[in-house]
């Protein structure tokens, strides 16, 4: 409804009563990020504004426009009488946005190509005989754009009347109701009556799979979904079929939308034609409480908004973050939320002699665990953090295990000997946004499409925009962009390092080459040799320079980067084999068959997943949607989750459980508040407290000792077998199970 409010304000400046913008005498506004903007001298030089003219507005959404350094590449246009300076190549619509005028639109989307087919963005341009579709018209120097004249208003009203001709009047039963562009804009820009009395057309609904519900009769043919599928998702399945009033969006042949980003068409659809199938008829958007948090199902840390009603997460939608996920999220992020309501652990439980779990109080459960702890040798204690753990709980776990006299604390997925000495050895140093500057990609043992869908979307964007070349070493896999499959094993990598491979010439000529190594390599025996080979390649082809660091590791789990920062680096095989007391903090993917039979296993987690079957004691904890936690994503950017809903049952935050246990076990941790834990984190890894910042590593990798290990010839493995089910939450999700059943290629 914010749009509506803005629109009303624009359509009648006299309605604007509260909070007038600061009076600027200048009618000419220089939009620039520098402090020189709107300087008093500039204002003094220009004549005072016409008293009848409404005062100038701020750019839409607080957008900042960077003018090119060369003044000849900028031009000046007049929007409703106010001069604005814009870079060359801006469209009329963008110029209006800079001038603070929000032009109504349906088909235009800043991240998709321009279609110009909805005609809603018509504005009047002086000396133009007809209203101009502002989204498709480049702004020309001195253009006088009028957005509020009778011509422009009538044009919009007319377009709106045509759009509403065939649009069903089913807002009361439409899931888009309340957040519908058509609804809002027809209120703001439409006429109060229509002249259409005939029958509305109807269109057969399409089956796009278990995620996207279609009501094609509501479609206004803006083709945003077609462009999204073609350009961003890279699956050319959707198209515009037929012509005239029979035109419809479809796939022609029966086909499901098998993209890992398909859920985003729900967001970009301006009407209720494409809506969320799992969310259908569940809630109205105005009943929901939005909590701005981050996603933990992969290592990207996509920014999301968790919409909840009471204690229930109703849906997850993306939040804009240009540096990480832009405005998209993967289907796993968007639809895993029903896993938060299923298979949850409510109460502390102890496995009785009959092998069945019995719910007990926290006091009893902690006492049992502490009792066992007294009877094991310190070196037999092992702590394992799971892939969804936050930094606070990993810090607490590490401190606790250390305090008990053991140094065997690790995070699953980090392998036997993770390269934790230097931060740059396990982070995406180029940063996700920085990938757009690359011109050659070398993917080593990583399948970004399933490991980190948003990173893959960024690579695809780069490939589309600049024809960057992608080469891949690893098992055959799906890519949604052109790529060259160089080989399946490390030999190919060695060939490149020795300059014997044909791909070397491409790397040699690259300006900004990027190497991305998968975190799956951490699990390999020869990972030291592999990473040293990769570093040789990087050195040979100038991948790491003072102005460019193209050597990246793409991590798999949300906890991985923070775990390496905090030093949870014990060898899992040995630690687990020798453990008599195993503390699993949400760790379900450790090799449980290696756990000795007489070991006492404590499982602290939020889902009754794999590890519960082996556990002796269960301590219920809260999921990412219920706690405040610090996560570091694959590019080393620290972000916080914010609790959106209360925890279920008797569950507690992970770090609090460990803190309580430490007291019962007689090894009290020296902090009992979140800020206390964070102070402790600050001593170990200060970067984990600098939220939304990427602290780059300054020490070069050359200080590493030489590696004597030999590269083995075992081919790289596929790390993520099922994109939709990778952790405890997604494995508990029914929607993800449906996706795995229908969308994965057999």
């Amino acid at each position: 409804m914010a749009f509506f409010a803005r629109a009303i304000r624009h359509s009648n400046p006299y309605l604007r009563s509260r909070a007038p913008p600061p009076a600027v005498a200048a009618s000419c506004r220089w939009i620039s990020p520098t402090a020189a903007a709107g300087s008093p001298e500039a204002g003094a030089a220009v004549a005072p504004a016409d008293p009848e003219m409404p005062p100038p507005r701020e750019p839409v959404g607080g957008a900042r426009v960077e003018l090119p350094s060369n003044p000849e590449d900028a031009l000046e246009v007049f929007v409703d009488g106010h001069a604005v300076r814009i870079p060359k190549g801006f469209t009329v619509l963008q110029a209006c946005e800079v001038a603070g005028v929000d032009i109504p639109r349906f088909c235009y989307h800043s991240r998709l190509s321009i279609a110009g087919n909805c005609r809603m963005c018509l504005v009047e341009v002086e000396k133009s005989p007809k209203p101009v579709a502002s989204c498709a018209m480049p702004a020309l120097p001195g253009m006088k754009i009028k957005t509020n004249t009778p011509v422009a208003k009538k044009a919009r009203e007319g377009v709106m009347e045509f759009l509403l001709m065939n649009h069903p009047l089913d807002c009361p039963i439409c899931d888009q109701g309340g957040e519908c562009d058509l609804q809002d804009q027809s209120m703001a820009f439409g006429a109060d009556r229509g002249r259409f009395t005939e029958m509305k057309r109807s269109v057969v609904d399409k089956n796009l799979g278990p995620l996207v519900k279609t009501v094609m009769t509501r479609c206004i043919q803006c083709t945003r979904c077609v462009r999204f599928a073609t350009e961003v998702a890279g699956v050319q399945d959707l198209g515009m079929l037929g012509r005239g009033s029979g035109e419809e969006i479809g796939t022609y042949v029966e086909k499901l939308m098998t993209s890992e980003l398909s859920g985003n068409v729900i967001d970009i659809c301006p009407v209720g034609a494409l809506t969320s199938k799992p969310f259908a008829f569940k809630a109205r958007n105005w009943e929901l409480k939005g909590t701005e948090t981050i996603d933990v199902t992969d290592a990207v840390g996509s920014n999301i908004r968790v919409d909840s009603r009471g204690p229930e997460v109703m849906r997850i939608i993306p939040r804009l973050n240009e540096d990480i996920n832009e405005e998209w999220i993967s289907d796993k992020t968007r639809f895993c939320y029903d896993g938060l309501k299923r298979q949850r652990l409510n109460d502390p439980m102890i496995r009785g002699p009959d092998g069945r779990f019995k719910a007990v109080t926290w006091r009893d459960a902690l006492a049992v665990v502490a009792e066992v702890l007294q009877h094991v040798k310190p070196e037999e204690i092992t702590g394992v953090a799971g892939k969804l753990s936050d930094a606070e709980s990993m810090m607490a776990l590490k401190d606790f295990v250390n305090k008990m006299g053991s140094d065997k604390v690790l995070c699953e997925g980090n392998g036997p000997n993770p390269p934790a000495d230097l931060r740059s050895n396990y982070l995406m140093n180029t940063s996700i946004a920085g990938l757009e500057k690359a011109d050659v990609f070398l993917l080593v043992g990583t399948q970004p499409r399933v490991e980190a869908a948003m990173v893959n979307a960024r690579i695809r964007k780069t490939v589309r925009a600049t024809q960057a070349k992608v080469a891949y070493i690893g098992p055959p896999t799906d890519f949604n962009y052109d790529h060259e499959h160089l080989g399946t094993g490390p030999q190919t990598l060695v060939e490149i390092a020795e300059g014997r491979h044909s791909f070397c010439s491409t790397l040699q000529s690259a300006k900004n080459p990027v190497i991305i190594a998968g975190a799956g390599l951490f699990e390999r025996e020869d990972q030291d040799a592999l990473f040293s080979t990769i570093q040789t390649v990087a050195k040979k082809f100038n991948v790491v320079r003072p102005d460019w660091n193209g050597l990246n590791v793409l991590l798999l789990h949300a906890a991985q980067a923070a775990a390496l920062d905090l030093g949870l680096v014990a060898n899992p095989t040995e630690s687990i084999k020798s453990a008599k007391f195993l503390y699993l903090m949400g760790a379900d993917d450790v090799s449980l068959d290696k756990v000795p039979d007489d070991a006492f296993v404590v499982y602290q987690g939020h889902h009754g997943d794999k590890a519960v079957y082996r556990a002796n004691v269960i301590l219920p904890s809260s999921a990412f949607s219920e706690k405040e936690g610090t996560y570091e994503n694959t590019e080393g950017c620290t972000q916080w989750t914010i609790p959106a809903v209360p925890t279920v049952g008797d569950a507690r935050d992970d770090w609090k459980i460990i803190r309580a246990l430490s007291e019962v076990a007689g090894a009290q941790l020296p902090y009992d508040s979140l800020s206390g834990v964070r102070d402790r984190i600050c001593m170990v890894a200060p970067n984990l407290l600098q939220v939304d910042e990427r602290e780059s590593c300054t020490i070069s990798s050359e200080v590493k000792p030489p590696v004597k290990q030999q590269v083995s010839s075992t081919p790289f493995k596929t790390v993520v077998e099922n994109f939709y089910m990778t952790d405890a939450i997604t494995r508990a999700s029914k929607i993800m199970a449906q996706c795995s059943a229908t969308l994965l290629k057999k």
């Binding site: 009556r193 002249r195 009395t197 005939e198 029958m199 057309r201 109807s202 269109v203 057969v204 609904d205 089956n207 009769t217 073609t230 050319q236 399945d237 959707l238 198209g239 515009m240 079929l241 037929g242 012509r243 005239g244 009033s245 029979g246 035109e247 419809e248 479809g250 796939t251 022609y252 042949v253 029966e254």
Partner: protein, 313 residues
Amino acid sequence: MSQTGRGCSRRRLASGDGGVRGAPWAAAASGGATGDGGASRRATATVVRWATAGQCDGRRRRLASGDGGASRAISYAAAGCSSRLFSTALNYHIDSPENNPDMPWEFTEANMKKVNEILSHYPSNYKQSGIIPMLDLAQQQHGGWVPVAAMNAIAKIVGVAPIRVYEVATFYTMFNRTKVGKYHLLVCGTTPCMIRGSREIEEALLEHLGVKRNEVTSDGLFSVGEMECMGCCVNAPMIAVADYSKGSEGYTYNYYEDLTPKRVVEIVEMLRRGETPPRGTQNPERKNCGPAGGNTTLHSEPKPPPCRDLDAC
């Protein structure tokens, strides 16, 4: 239209006398709105026929009625029905034994040469420009219609996703995506031909062949379709005959103009016998589009237009 006019038409539509006329709408609404599967698709096909009936019905009523506003409403409603449902084909594909993506399909060797010739017209990075001529070629090769397998084959040749070819094939009404007869008869239904009796022409054709519109006769020889203006208004009414009986080599696309219901049946019979009826006007008194009985004007050689003396400049 004014507020009164709107109210009036609404009342009229709601009133009881729309009972007969109401039926096609009901059919249309249910046909389009029902869910999935073949049932609704068949229903949509029914709608096409219903709508035509509704339109005729509306026309007669308007002639009979004295009330201006109301008759306008009827004709609008009827036109609304028909214009929306004239489209002869569905915008989606239904698998059948003779039309499915798994069917092997490729251009014949002779046509492959033509395909290469077509592709040579366009830069190598704009191969998709060849989609339309290639669809046309595929249609000629495949007896007048393009199966989905052919579209896939074309997509492969030009290197685009199949949906890009489907988009083109569904956009252009001259690409048939379901089976047609060896002789595909297209009756022009636009205003001048309609005034000159194209409906009677179509009725005569349908009655003679014993089919409905867009159906193929049991011998597979003929099918009747409808087309919009083909630019022969001066010789209306007319039909176009697409002859797919001789493959893409002997493919012809001829106009037969100045038709009468009797003459059009004669033409069909000549085609059935394998003869080639004289194309163009069927009125023996006319030559091309000249007036019956010879020219009435322009008897002499036309005078060249005045031109300034270029040598003098």
